[in-house]
Each structure stands twice: as C-alpha cells, then as structure tokens.
C-alpha cells in the first residue's frame, strides 16, 4: 500500500467526523500551546534578567570587603564580615593593574537631602568620575563628578532625576545648593531618568565624591570597588590579579570577595533555564493527557469500525496495513493539534508581549520543536494499542457480526 494512499484513507476517516477530530485536535493544541507560552514566558524572564545584567556591564568585577566562608564567589554573599577595611588606597592600587579599564570606589548610605524647606531621603552614592561609565548611567544636564584624585572631598553633587524634580521642580538646578546631612553641596549635574536597574533606582540617588561621602557617613571603609576590565576575556585575569594584589596589601590575608558580573550572569542563566525547562515539562504533561484522549477515542473507533476493518482485510489488507492506517490517523490528529497549538502559543505569546512590553517574550525554537515532536510522539504512542487491536481483529468475525 502506498504511503499517499494510507494518508488519504486515514484523512478521509478524520474528515468524516469533523467534530471528533477537532475536539481531540483541540486537546493537543492546548497542550502544545501551553508548552509554547510557558517556555516563552520563562525565556522572556531569562532574557529580561540577562538584559538587566548586561545593562550593568558584563566586564564588571566587584570587590566586596570580607571573605565568604565557602570557596568560590557565591552571588548570594554580597556582604561579609571583614577584619580589614577596603580603602581608597586599595582602589587606587587596583586601578594600576594591567587590563583594568576603569575603577570606581563606592560608598552607599542614605541621607536627608534638603533645599530650603523641601527635603527628602535619598540614596547617597559616594564615588568617582568613572562610575558613570562603569554603571552605564546616563547624564541629563551639566557634568558628572570631575576627574581627579579620589581623596578630595569636593562639595559637589549630581542629582537623580526624581530628586531633582522634587527639590527643584522646573527650575534650573545647575549651580544650586543643596544640604546633605550637615554639609552643603553645589549641584553640577543631573542624571537622565533611567528607572529601575537591578533593583536600584538611579532616579532616586544623589552622587557625591567618595571622600565627601566617607566624611558624611563617618567611615574610612569602602562599600565596594567596581572594576571594569578591558574586554570580556580579561575579566578572569583581572579578577585574579585583584585578589593577589589585595592579599599583599592586606598583610597576606585574602579578606575580600571578588565577584564577576559574568559569574552572576551565568548562575542566573542556569537557574532561569532550569526554571523554563521545569515549567515546560509541567505543561508537557498535558500532552500526555491528550495522548490518553487519543487512545480512548481510537479504541472506540476500532470497535465502531469492525466491519470496515474486516472488509479491508478481506480485500487484501494485511494487519500491518490496518495498523498503519490507524497510526497515521492518530498521527494526523496529533499533527493538526500540534500545528494549532503552535499558532495558539504564538498568538498568546504575542498578546503577553503586548501586555508586558518590558519582557522579551519569544517562544524558543527548541521548545516549539520539542512540543510538536512530543505531541506527535504521544499521539502515535497512545494509538499503538488501538492500532494493534485493529490489526488483530478477526476478519471473518468482524464481517459477519452486525
């Protein structure tokens, strides 16, 4: 029997019962659609997180005072207990390591920022000029912190967009004075509105020179040193050199933790990929359910079509021919369902993408392929039993029974 004829006979049977075919196809569609949408969401979330990280610079190396107890740089350990402070001198020394592009020491605190009667709590960032590029911040108007020795506590500040709005309204903030804690700072620039960036809102910060911040916060220690390596390939090398250098500077004790953006990125990537797989796998269960449905319907169909099966055998169909007919029938339903599911999944993903424009929701090709393959495979697998039953029907008996 020719394959084309097998398909056309099987298709004829399906077309004969459009509602039955459509309903089983729908069950398959929902399964495939669910896999497509959920993996698209998972991939979207992954893409979103990676994008956020990339926004911080993938060549970024962060030095944290204190040593994590476990070896290796666990991304969760963002603060440690240290015996020795991380100092501005450390930061200056790090800047001399080869392959280091830029270094920005960082102190973080919160302080009351006031102008006249207006005041509000702001996140205080003490740093140096390179912070702007290292953290991929964008300047609104004016200048960022002036370059120069990092130990000069110049009374200048750069305002986040929201702080500027709240303190100055529509007035020109450049050259204006604000009071931070017990000191006065002159506004030399503002940041462009950038919004949330890895849980850190640049609109609500005030940036001042690191030396001024240390005085304000009354600490000789740095919160972080941010290092930008020259290219991704240099990251590992700079990381090792930094560790070695700080160990020498801290009397042979490795009491800092150095994490790279890359490592954090890779970890998040792994976690989110696993999550996507898990969610996709759960959705795939519905494909199994649809497969059982196919089996059920095919079993009923075999019972109903005994006479036809007997006839085909009398006309010279072998058991293999009959089995092929039923398998192709199931395969066709499953394929139709899968095709419907892909359409459904893409439509839903598109709609979700419209509702959450910040999430890059695109169904991953591997998931779509896997879902379609699983659907067809499940259809064939579950049709095996009914098809075998049909193939084994006693032709003489099925023809005479009426």
């Amino acid at each position: 029997m020719r394959l084309v004829d097998t398909f056309s006979l099987a298709w004829g049977t399906l077309a004969q019962q459009p509602r039955r075919t459509a309903l089983i196809g729908l069950a398959m569609s929902i399964g495939v659609g669910a896999v497509v949408v959920l993996t698209a969401l998972g991939e979207g979330a992954r893409g979103y997180v990676l994008e956020q990280f990339a926004g911080l610079g993938t060549n970024l190396i962060i030095v944290i005072p204190g040593r994590a107890e476990t070896t290796g740089a666990a991304p969760g350990v963002l603060s440690g207990q240290s015996t020795r402070d991380l100092t501005l001198d450390d930061a200056n020394a790090v800047a001399r390591i080869p392959w280091v592009n830029d270094v920005a020491p960082l102190n973080v605190g919160s302080a009351q920022v006031t102008r006249g009667s207006l005041g509000r709590e702001a996140v205080l960032l003490g740093s140096t000029a390179p912070l702007l590029t290292i953290r991929h911040m964008h300047l609104g108007i004016g200048h960022f912190l002036p370059p120069g020795p990092s130990d000069q506590a110049l009374p200048v500040c750069v305002l986040g967009d929201k702080i500027r709005r709240e303190l100055f309204g529509n007035a020109n903030p450049l050259g204006g004075w604000v009071r931070i804690g017990d000191r006065r700072f002159r506004v030399i620039g503002t940041l462009a509105a950038q919004g949330q960036q890895m849980g850190f809102n640049t609109d609500e910060v005030v940036v001042i020179p690191v030396a001024a911040a240390q005085q304000l916060l009354n600490t000789p220690s740095l919160f972080r040193i941010l290092i930008e390596a020259r290219g991704r390939a240099a990251v590992q090398r700079v990381k090792e050199d930094t560790l070695a250098l700080l160990k020498t500077r801290h009397e042979g004790e490795a009491d800092v933790t150095v994490i790279t953006q890359d490592a954090v990125l890779a970890t998040f990537d792994r976690i989110l990929t696993a999550l996507t797989l898990a969610v996709g796998g759960i959705a795939a269960i519905s494909l199994g359910v649809a497969g059982v449905l196919i089996m059920n319907v095919m079993l009923v169909s075999v019972a109903q079509r005994r006479a036809e099966i007997g006839l085909l055998k009398a006309l010279g169909a072998s058991g293999g021919n009959v089995r092929a007919l039923f398998l192709v029938e199931a395969g066709l339903i499953a394929s139709l369902g899968a095709a419907g599911g892909v359409v459904l999944g893409f439509a839903a993903s598109f709609t979700l993408g419209r509702v959450y424009p910040q999430l890059p929701i695109v169904p991953p090709l591997w998931a779509v392929t896997a879902a379609v393959a699983t659907a067809i495979l499940a259809g064939l697998l579950f049709a095996w039993l009914p098809a075998r039953r049909a193939a084994k029907l006693d032709a003489a008996l099925s023809l005479t029974r009426r």
Partner: protein, 224 residues
C-alpha cells in the same frame, strides 16, 4: 485449483466446543461454478471463510493453486487474498464515505497500484457492471442492485481467479438478484471460479455443481 483434505474447524463457545466443519474433503477445478447450499449453521459460511483465507482450519490441509496455504502467516494470506480472491457479501460492505469508484479502487489501493492505472482499471470495471454513470455516487445514493454490482466490480478489480459470494442476492428482490447473478455468471464464463452460498433453490439450480451441507459435513455433491 482448490483441494481440501480432512478440513475441520472448531469454535469454542464458552466452555463448549462447536464443530463447524467436520473433516471436509473437497476438490474444485479452475473455472467451476458451484453453489453451496444448506440450512443456517450448517458450516457454509465457515467453509467460505476458510476458502477465502479469512479463517484457518483447526486441522486438515488446504491447498490453493497447488500451494499449501494452511500455514501461511497473516501477511502472506493477506497477499493471497489480494491477488487471488474476490469477495462479494450479502450486506455489500461498501465504505459509506467513499464513492462507487473509490470503493472499487480499494483493493487496487491496498495492492499499491499507481493512481493512473487505478483510474483506468476502475473506469473499465464500472463499465463492465454498467455503472459508468454512477462513478461518483456515494453508496447511500445507490439502489441495492447497484450496490451489489459495485461490490462485484470491487471483487474483480484485481482479476482474482476465485470469486466467493456469500448470499449475494440475500438482500435483493428476485429480479435484481437474477441480474446480479447474471453479472457473476458472466465473470465465471470469462474464466473465474465462482463459489456462491445461497438459500435460494432457483439460484442454486443455475450452478453446474451443487454442494449441500448439513451439520458441518458435505452431504451431497452432484459432481462427486
């Protein structure tokens, strides 16, 4: 052409063993026209199913065209049915969703014959049974006599040497029945071996050889 040696067939109905055929010996030459007659349950249909390889004997030996077909496996007997045997049934057994032409083409489809040749042969077969006008009619649009003629055309589509008809006129009125028998006899005259099961004495009388069965045995055979 057909040789049955001591062929028996038992069915198990619940705990009981029912002997449908008891040591039947039968020899049929190519081109014969045979009527098998007898009361219900005499084993006529069982005999026909065995001859058509839809069933196999519990004991004994069946050879067709000089070849022992008793122990053929499922695929091999399907092949023999396809190439050598045509069936005509009392209830026509046409596939309702296929039109007359497609029903006739079924054995050709199963045999894997190319569509172009199929079309040609179906057209010829339709002409042979006088239904060229009805090629695209569904079974539900045809009369009983027409249905049976489609079924005969289907049985003949692979030019089988053996034509088995199980009460081919059982569902037709007398005039249509005669007409259908005429078609079958025409095929017999062109060389096909024709074996017809019938209850109808008039139709039985048309056959050159009459075999009467009772209780699983051949009790009369006018050729023997």
């Amino acid at each position: 052409m057909i040789q049955l040696d001591q062929v028996s067939r038992t069915f198990e109905v619940g705990e009981q063993q029912v002997l449908a055929l008891r040591e039947v010996n039968l020899s049929i030459a190519a081109g014969e026209y045979i009527a098998i007659m007898g009361p219900s349950g005499s084993g006529k249909s069982t005999l026909l199913n065995l001859l058509g390889l839809l069933d196999r004997p519990s004991s004994g030996r069946y050879s067709l065209d000089g070849r022992d077909v008793t122990g053929l496996n499922e695929a091999e007997s399907a092949r023999v049915r396809r190439e050598k045997i045509g069936f005509v049934f009392q209830f026509f057994h046409l596939v309702p969703r296929l039109d007359a032409a497609a029903n006739i083409a079924l054995p050709l489809v199963l045999a894997g014959i190319a569509p172009a040749e199929r079309k040609q042969r179906v057209a010829q077969l339709l002409a042979d049974v006088g239904l060229s006008e009805r090629a695209d009619h569904l079974p539900s649009q045809l009369s009983g006599g027409q249905l049976q003629r489609v079924a005969i055309a289907r049985a003949m589509s692979m030019h089988p040497a053996l034509l088995l008809a199980d009460e081919p006129t059982g569902n037709l009125d007398r005039a249509t029945g005669r007409e259908v028998m005429g078609v079958l006899e025409g095929l017999n005259q062109r060389g096909a071996t024709l074996i017809v099961i019938t209850h109808d004495q008039e139709i039985g009388a048309r056959a050159r050889r009459r075999i009467v069965m009772e209780d699983g045995r051949v009790i009369s055979d006018n050729a023997a």
